[in-house]
Symmetry: C2
């Protein structure tokens, strides 16, 4: 599955780099291949591109000047945040110049009245979280890559993460953006007005567009009330179907529900073998739900009541302290490292309609076995939003038949071939599994309207 594409480096127009050096200052136009290597290879090592220069603007005006010069010279840009993407959308696979946005790092202050903050595209997610916390608020988006992932990257990819169930995706946090569009226009609407029906909602359009329409340079983010009191429980079920139904029932009863993670007996066995952890219950269950509730005051009673109202629960363990809570979370979180001990897996991040989730999970092993008899499948995910992580071990890295079979099955059920990671370069030839010709034609019309010269991330999202 390695996609070590060495970008073909087009001859750059004479004078372009000199012009860009003038705009950025010499220290912020990088050309030394040893220095640019970390910008041209993605962090998984699967996607390797090449570039003549990495450009590091420090302001929206500099971004606009770079875009203007590149449009004039017909040279494309690859937009990059922290380069933590998983689908090859942030490295210069077609020899683009790299536009690194990490220096757009202005943050705050938090508006205490509205609970909002403006963050530059290069601000790491963890800094937004810390700044919100210091002001008595919280940021609704969280994910494992929080220390490096940037606001700009999370906006471009509409990052989801650990708390989508409760607070929604990045789009749901986004009250305004400043951006330089592919047309060269700079648009800025950062007042953060919650009610503001004055035209098309550009923040929502740019969010999730994977840098194909323009460069988001800053975002106005809504914050949420902090929920410091937490309780965690593990529930055992007779199957995935009852576990998914229980997650839905808990969500309906419990506004404080923040996680409803699903895993199955196979995965738990593997985790226990690798970590040496003891069993959660005296008996084994086919499916498990790990739930967490969080609120301003202790949500334990509310969670216990909601669990008490569920049908078809086998066993229940409620964590009485943070040590036990961490032990319960470990069963779920250790899945990735446990699977990695079997070799680098093929990883597919998909969403299924909740009503089809159990049947899909049943069918995946057969579909995979049909093209890769030696393979093993490991499935876990988020029971409340239908997001399943399909991991397949025992398959050669370049063998995409497994990926294709699983994604086709996802599409058959009306699911999404990309829950969170986006389409990028990796999945764009499969976009047609999810999107009709009319939808893709509409995407192209929007792309042509806002990036008429194809300067922004030309190899990303839309199929060739």
């Amino acid at each position: 599955m390695t996609k070590a594409v060495t970008g073909t480096q087009p001859g750059l127009p004479a004078g372009l780099l000199a012009e860009l050096r003038e705009v950025l200052g010499a220290p912020h136009l990088l050309t030394d291949p040893e220095v640019t290597a970390s910008f041209t290879t993605d962090w998984t090592g699967r996607f390797v591109g090449a570039t003549a220069a990495v450009l590091r603007p420090s302001s929206t005006a500099e971004v606009a000047a770079v875009l203007s010069a590149c449009r004039r010279h017909g040279v494309a840009l690859c937009l990059q945040g922290a380069n933590t993407g998983l689908v090859g959308g942030g490295v210069p696979l077609q020899g683009e110049l790299v536009l690194s946005l990490r220096r757009l790092a202005t943050l705050g202050p938090v508006d205490p009245l509205s609970g909002q903050v403006t963050a530059g595209a290069g601000v790491p997610l963890a800094d937004v979280q810390a700044t919100a916390r210091a002001a008595g608020w919280a940021y609704g988006v969280d994910m494992a890559s929080r220390q490096s992932a940037t606001v700009g990257g999370t906006v471009a990819t509409n990052a989801g993460g650990l708390r989508v169930l409760r607070y929604g995706d990045t789009r749901a946090q986004l009250l305004g953006v400043e951006a330089v569009l592919g047309t060269g226009q700079t648009v800025s609407h950062l007042a953060g007005l919650v009610k503001d029906n004055t035209g098309y909602h550009l923040p929502s359009l740019l969010c999730g567009s994977e840098g194909t329409l323009g460069v988001v340079t800053a975002a106005r983010l809504r914050l949420v009330p902090p929920a410091p009191e937490r309780v965690v429980a593990l529930l055992g079920f007779g199957g995935v179907g009852p576990a998914v139904a229980a997650a839905g029932a808990l969500r309906r009863r419990l506004g404080s529900l923040e996680a409803a993670e699903l895993f199955v007996a196979d995965g738990l066995d593997l985790v226990r073998r690798v970590t040496g952890a003891g069993p959660p219950f005296a008996r084994t269950h086919p499916a498990y739900l790990l739930v967490e509730a969080a609120a301003a005051s202790d949500p334990t009673d509310d969670l216990a009541q909601a669990i008490g109202s569920l049908e078809a629960v086998g066993d229940v363990a409620v964590a009485v302290d943070s040590v036990r809570a961490a032990e319960l979370w470990r069963y779920r979180e250790a899945h990735t490292e446990a699977i990695n001990t079997l070799g680098a897996p093929h990883k597919l991040d998909v969403t299924l309609p909740l009503g089809s989730l159990a049947e899909f999970m049943d069918r995946v092993p057969g579909v995979v076995a049909a093209v890769a008899p030696e393979a093993r499948c490991w499935l876990f995910g988020h029971a409340a939003d239908g997001n399943v992580h399909v991991n397949v071990t025992g398959v050669g890295p370049d063998d995409e038949r497994v990926d294709e079979s699983v994604l086709a099955l996802v599409a058959d059920y009306g699911g999404s071939i990309s829950a969170e990671h986006g389409i990028g370069v990796a999945k764009r030839r499969w976009l047609g599994l999810n999107r009709s010709e009319a939808e893709i034609a509409t995407f192209r019309a929007i792309k042509s309207a806002l990036d008429p010269d194809g300067v922004c991330n030309p190899g990303v999202l839309l199929p060739n």
Copy 2:
């Protein structure tokens, strides 16, 4: 302020009506002026248009056929739901054919696992609410026009309403749409997958576009857990500033906060004179906050604790039963009828940044007096989202200097000239107060991409 524009009726191309009659069936192409009158006049009576025919399709395919015929013949459409809009966006002021979407009335069923429902554009909001309730869920959007306002209209205008503070606007509920775009393309993405990063988010772009990009024929809506237990309190403050600060503090502490309505001493006096209601407190306060919390279990203790933590509260009245709760709400809700006893007011629906709200409210009377010395100003609104209803009495109906002065002041403070109602026809010449040339050029580029022939609501939103 009456805008009785009689649309100039262009000569319709020969054969178009016959072709449309073929598509729709004769009973669903209305041409009798007595029958079409209710479609050509808006419900305020301010906007009066004219049309050769009202078209009433019953399916997305019929909408597509209508759009195709109109594009071929170069004839524009005026899109209409329940015709309850306030800015002239839904009546044929340029002699367009009226496309009434009320027959697209398919609703449900509720998916009990995900808490979602699909509704046709013509389904009344109240029906969505009732269907959600019957399935053990609730719909997050509510407003006074719920019995007639349609899903399609609320999507087209990104309706806000009474619970934006808690659940967000219509865009925040919208997980998917089916639509016929101005290009003639039918796009449909209604699976309601919460995590689905597979291209540009057309639902968010169409929501709030006021019918200028295409016809939304159905919407996939997220539902929310029901919150049947309610408590209401009225708080008196020394000024608007402390009241707004208190609303922010309550929102941060109280996830169950559903309303934080602001009014002032003047307005309360008028309400009491008109309704005969007694005073809420022994002494008068310059500003009042009416708050409501709602949850699965009684939120009274949580609200009382949160109020107890506030600084600068003068008096507090917590309703102990639903009769008292209704009395407290009446102080706020009776503002509209009390103001109407002074003559038809100029009404402006604007949003201010919370930090400027108090200063804005202070300055409005002076700004109005400068152009209309006889006028009186009545201001009330939503303290948590900065939405202010500016009502001005004692001004001639056609005198727009008051409107223009207030909207310019709003823009000076970085506020929005349209909180909820949209731009429509009424405010489009003022769009430039809020949106830069670059933003408006971007809107035009999107309009050209998705409605290249200008068939959909040509007179709406974008300035001439």
